[in-house]
Amino acid sequence: MSISVEGVEKRFGTFEALKGVSVAVPNGSLTALLGPSGSGKSTLLRVIAGLEQPDAGRVLIAGNDATTVTPQKRGVGFVFQHYAAFKHMTVERNVGFGLKIRKKSKEEIAAKVDELLKLVHLDGFAHRYPSELSGGQRQRMALARALAVEPEVLLLDEPFGALDATVRKELRTWLRRLHEDVHVTTIFVTHDQEEAMDVAQQIVVMNDGLIEQVGTPRDLYEEPANEFVMGFVGEVNKVGDDLVRPHDIQILLEPDGVGSQEGQIERVSHLGFEVRVELVLEDGRRLAVQTTRQEAEEREFEAGQIVYLRPDRERKFATGA
């Protein structure tokens, strides 16, 4: 189902969490809400779920005004950062909870739970309690529980935030595949730009209660709308008023005579395929350049070396953007 948010505002006391947010999420898409903490992304997700009531604005699900519909009747699946597992129930009863509430027959519940536990690779864990599962397993259980009631919309609030790096990467690949299989309209919240770019088809960048930009991962990286987005979706160097990505700076051994800047290499870090070179310019400012291992080896970059820098594809945004 498509989701449309129109002019939503939400205050907590004196704090304005959402300052008039409008965004459309197409049916069947996989969308990320990306932003730093306090940007309002989780609040927006909770407003869509009906777990928070907006002070102003509307939420439309499949074109129908759902603003005053309770979460109970909204038909959304919600996955919490800290799993919200029902601790006193086994995995099986956790996953079957929504079906039991809907008074499905025992056989029907058992069959559906079985199918879902296979889907989330938890078959064999049906009779365990949440306390006997790892974080990743608990989150997969929570996902199965949300999917059991066949929601029209799946909402995930920092679903992998509490997990360690390896499990997080594994689960996000898995979420993307799951979405390809199930095709339910999915929105997830994250503060990790790599996670958003890896998983989502559409990213909504939020900052300070407002939406900064909506676009595909590529759009955001190649055509950022402003300085905030450019800085949030990837690393940037500031050269004068210009912003430039570390891989868009060329390191020359000789000055090119058309405005290359002199700098001294401070440190060379080998990060596998790529090499990161940190430099100090003449005026004392620091910047970082990404280059390939091959180039670094050919040119024999090392700390202390004097080199010349030529930025490429630098951007300038209107101040105050």
Binding site: Q72, K87, G98, I101, V149
Partner: protein
């Protein structure tokens, strides 16, 4: 010898102080009650507690506990939910009022009830005209018992509610559960040990209450006497066997309650 660790003498000294304190102040007096009771065999104490007045006192105690504890349990869970989950004006005041029974002397509680329900009290005469006798009757004693045992369930439930948070409840609501279903299937099972512990404490308090009940009871033997009042009455009438026997019944009831409390604690740490 390690500087931080205690010498053998110090360790035994500490243990002696702790156990000696308990023995002198708690165990010895209670043990003496037991010894005295059965001094002349089983006959006299048995006779005393099976006397009509003794039996009546026993039943009246159960009636008071049986009404006060369930009522306070329902109220306690509701009040804990309201205090933990809702924001409203006067919340701090409500929170303080719940502790009043802890802070006020039971005798004062009894007097307060007299001032409201007594013959010259606020609504006492109206109630008597309507045919309802509160003071010097069972309703007054039940009210006094409710008053003194009120805070326990609230106070034991609130921290558990705070600890479990409301994400499980929110998850249940997104899965289609109504508020009522969420309460029975998610909230109550999550707080059950806290509630049970509060019920045990409230029961222990309600069983043993003397002061408040004594003020409103009027102490008519065989009519408005609970077990603690019966004990006192037998004692002042020099019927020591009866006093000791009833005291032992009370002590045994209390022991059962304490024992179940320990069982609950163990259950709680297991889950």
């Amino acid at each position: 010898m390690h500087a931080a660790s205690l010498s053998k003498v110090q360790r035994y000294g500490l243990r002696f102080v702790a156990l000696g304190y308990l023995a002198a102040l708690l165990l010895v007096p209670i043990a003496i009650v037991f010894v005295r009771t059965f001094e002349d065999g089983l006959g006299p104490p048995l006779e005393a507690i099976t006397s009509p007045d003794g039996q009546h006192a026993f039943w009246l105690t159960l009636v008071c506990v049986g009404i006060a504890v369930p009522l306070n349990t329902v109220f306690g869970v509701v009040a804990a939910l309201v205090l933990v989950r809702q924001k409203f004006r006067g919340k701090a005041i409500l929170n303080t009022i719940i502790d009043l029974p802890f802070a006020i002397s039971p005798v004062v509680i009894g007097l307060a009830l007299l001032l409201v329900y007594g013959r010259n009290g606020w609504i006492g005469q109206d109630l008597i005209d309507a045919g309802i006798q509160v003071i010097f009757s069972t309703p007054g004693m039940v009210l006094a018992t409710i008053f003194v045992s009120l805070p326990f369930v609230v106070r034991e439930t609130m921290p558990v509610l705070q600890e479990i948070g409301n994400e499980q409840e929110q998850a249940a609501s997104t899965l289609g559960a109504s508020g009522w279903q969420t309460f029975w299937r998610i909230t109550l099972p999550s707080i059950r040990w806290g509630v049970a512990y509060g019920v045990v404490l409230a029961t222990a308090r309600a069983l043993g209450e003397y002061g408040a009940v004594s003020v409103v009871a009027g102490r008519i033997s065989g009519e408005t006497e609970t077990l603690p009042l019966f004990v006192e009455n037998e004692f002042t009438n020099f019927n020591l066997a009866g006093a000791y026997a009833a005291a032992i019944v009370l002590a045994l009831l209390a022991l059962v309650v304490l024992f179940s409390m320990n069982l609950l604690k163990r259950k709680e740490t297991e889950t």
